[in-house]
Symmetry: C2
Subunit: 215 residues, 2 copies
């Protein structure tokens, strides 16, 4: 059964694509043009009532929320492809901790920078310089903690690549390559080394090759 | 080894306490007075560099982020006490989906209501009527989707109680009992039935008996 992935051009969906590629799971994609509001159409809301991508359909199983889908495939295909959850319950705990840090401490600031610098024209939003300034300052503080963490271990959850690292890739890519804020990464020795490592994975190169957003 | 839980009076920590009690895991608590800024003191930042509760220490294993700790204990003691993750990988996927919905769609609005209505005086914040109005409107829309979901299944992830339901309890308790917004729950047949069910669990009664916040 080929997994159907909705909204491949969106950053959050790219988290899911990374897992599918790392695990060698066959998939096909269905475009959802959020600039045209297709994520708010009745047909899409039947799949995802909150009106956001991604959603996957795998036979008659439908699942949404990018980090939930990542966990689902990492667990379902635990012994296939790259291990993304750690080998012990304690390692999995650290993966979960840093996945939550990404979701709770990193994401909203990175998202604000992407929306207000990069996507404002596309979505007809007026960029707010105060939001940009505050988000950059908050992200800077978060990345100071990442620098300390990554001076102790090669990856966020320990000395193994995991969902926790992977979950950061799509939005750090915007920060480094599309928002003029790459100094946030580059000025930090361990964070920039980590970014060089994870952004050079074949899976991310394939995602960009196939599903680069039209920006 | 007795689990040490930091910050038991805070709502997010109560997610962790619920799991420990449901699983019958022995624990002790360490107060962290956030109204006095104890979560920003160097000693605490060594445990949790982002300066938020909860944190647990379990022997020499330290873990933070409430939903990560919930998953860790639910998995580690999978066959002890109440099953909180579902019985299959597909059920676990639905638990993860609704845990993410709680974190991404529900929490920030419920948190804003609690902060601006309930905790503003304690933390010296000026309540913002616009934030309160917008948060209530957004929460109302989210709960409309919950009502639809709970008309199809007894609990969020399916016909079984799970971490996804549990994760909502501390903040819905504020909404119903401390913010004057209980109509958001009570006007909905299935959401209010669900709330009656999950808030009457012995675990939640014990949490309130032992660690009710001084508000």
């Amino acid at each position: 059964m080929v997994v159907k992935v909705y909204g491949p051009l969106c950053a959050s969906t790219k988290r899911v694509l990374l897992v599918l590629i790392e695990k060698g799971i066959e998939f096909e994609t269905v475009n959802v043009d959020v600039s045209k509001g297709e994520h708010r159409q009745p047909e899409f809301l039947k799949l995802q009532p909150f009106g956001v991508v991604p959603v996957i359909q795998d036979g008659d199983y439908t699942l949404y929320e990018s980090r939930a889908i990542m966990r689902y495939y990492a667990e379902k295909y635990n012994s296939q492809g790259v291990d993304l959850l750690g080998k012990t319950i304690e390692e999995r705990g650290m993966v979960e901790q840093w996945l939550e840090v990404e979701a709770q401490n990193f994401h909203s600031h990175a998202y604000n920078l992407a929306i207000h610098i990069l996507f404002a024209p596309i979505f007809g939003i007026t960029p707010d310089p105060k939001v940009i300034e505050e988000s950059e300052a908050k992200l800077d503080r978060v990345l100071t903690i990442y620098e300390e963490r990554l001076s102790q271990s090669k990856y966020l959850a320990g000395d193994f690549f995991s969902l926790a690292d992977m979950s950061h890739i799509p939005f750090i890519d915007y920060i480094v390559n599309n928002t003029g804020k790459k100094h946030l990464i580059n000025k930090r020795k361990h964070v920039s080394g980590w970014w060089d490592d994870i952004s050079n994975r074949a899976s991310w190169k394939k995602v960009l090759e196939l599903y680069r957003a039209p920006i």
